[in-house]
Symmetry: C2
Subunit: 158 residues, 2 copies
DNA sequence: AAATAGTATACAAAGTTGGTAGACTTTGTG
DNA sequence: CACAAAGTCTACCAACTTTGTATACTATTT
């Protein structure tokens, strides 16, 4: 499960990408339009700014704007920043490797091997998707006016 | 991140698969060998039993054994049972679909589209791996006596 | 009947997440 | 310069989840 924090971050980024013509956008505008608690959003935006995803201007006429073009904002990097590593288990993380406390022999750990595949699968998707891609895909499905089909009851997969 | 609960469950299942010749195995034996708090393990085993992954016998000479052959125990189903759905976002779950509370228009949600891909990627790995596969892979890497290579510092992926 | 072994229920400590409050700093404008 | 607008920093807190523990019970074999 991704946290609300990450969802809010992605929503804010998409909003800013869409409104990028207008110059700096107020926190309170994003907060209201995307229905994100203002103070909570503030802390998220600061985090995004510190990593260069956003740029801000203080004072009157200030606000937030994208720190780089939507094509250069990798969804996976945003997720990682706010939610932490993709790896379901710290011992297969590329950016935050840690020995599992409850693991005796790492090399003989089957869980590790499987979770490495999972981490790679997740990374494969998230690191190949940009903010621009996300926005593009929304536009496309909007045209087709259909969206993803809903699951039938009793489906076999999560 | 997968929970300890799930890790413990998988460890217990692997242990039982390896010791399957000997008939029922005591909770306390699994607990000691795999260093899992006994009472905590108990509750996990009951959950696994209720889903048919395990079989138990009470009384003297009793204990736990696998409820079906290792080839029929899907890792993903165990994970799902203990950790919940794979989907990073409830609105793309196949087994536990729910509308996201903070989402206005589901069909125009870019996050949803990306997360659907992520969930499919995770499901792809976890539902195609069985307990038997895990055990087999451990044996193989054991032979090669190497295991997964550790990440270099400054690697680009998680 | 006695010992063995799993089952059920309730509770608790610690950590994480989501959110709030308030004071502070920076900047543009009259 | 003064004031208002806007982001920033620090601290806090309530709710929830995770990871356990304690206790009493039920079922089975010998």
């Amino acid at each position: 499960m991704i946290s609300r924090k990450t969802k809010y971050a992605l929503k804010a980024l998409m909003y800013l990408a869409r409104e990028s013509d207008r110059g700096p956008v107020l926190i309170s505008e994003i907060s209201e339009e995307e229905r994100i608690p203002k103070k909570f959003l503030e802390s998220i935006l600061v985090t995004l700014k510190n990593q260069g995803f956003l740029h801000s201007r203080k004072g009157k006429g200030g606000g937030y704007s994208l720190g780089k073009p939507p094509k250069e904002i990798i969804v996976g990097e945003v997720v990682r920043l706010l939610d932490g590593p993709f790896a379901p288990v710290p011992c297969v993380s590329e950016t935050a490797y840690m020995k599992c406390t409850e693991c005796n022999d790492e090399n003989a750990c089957g869980i590790r091997l499987v979770m490495k595949d999972v981490r790679d699968a997740i990374a494969g998707v998230l690191l190949s998707t940009t903010l621009a891609d996300m926005i593009e895909r929304v536009k496309e499905t909007g045209k087709r006016n259909s969206g993803i089909s809903h699951p039938k009851r009793g489906a076999t997969n999560v």
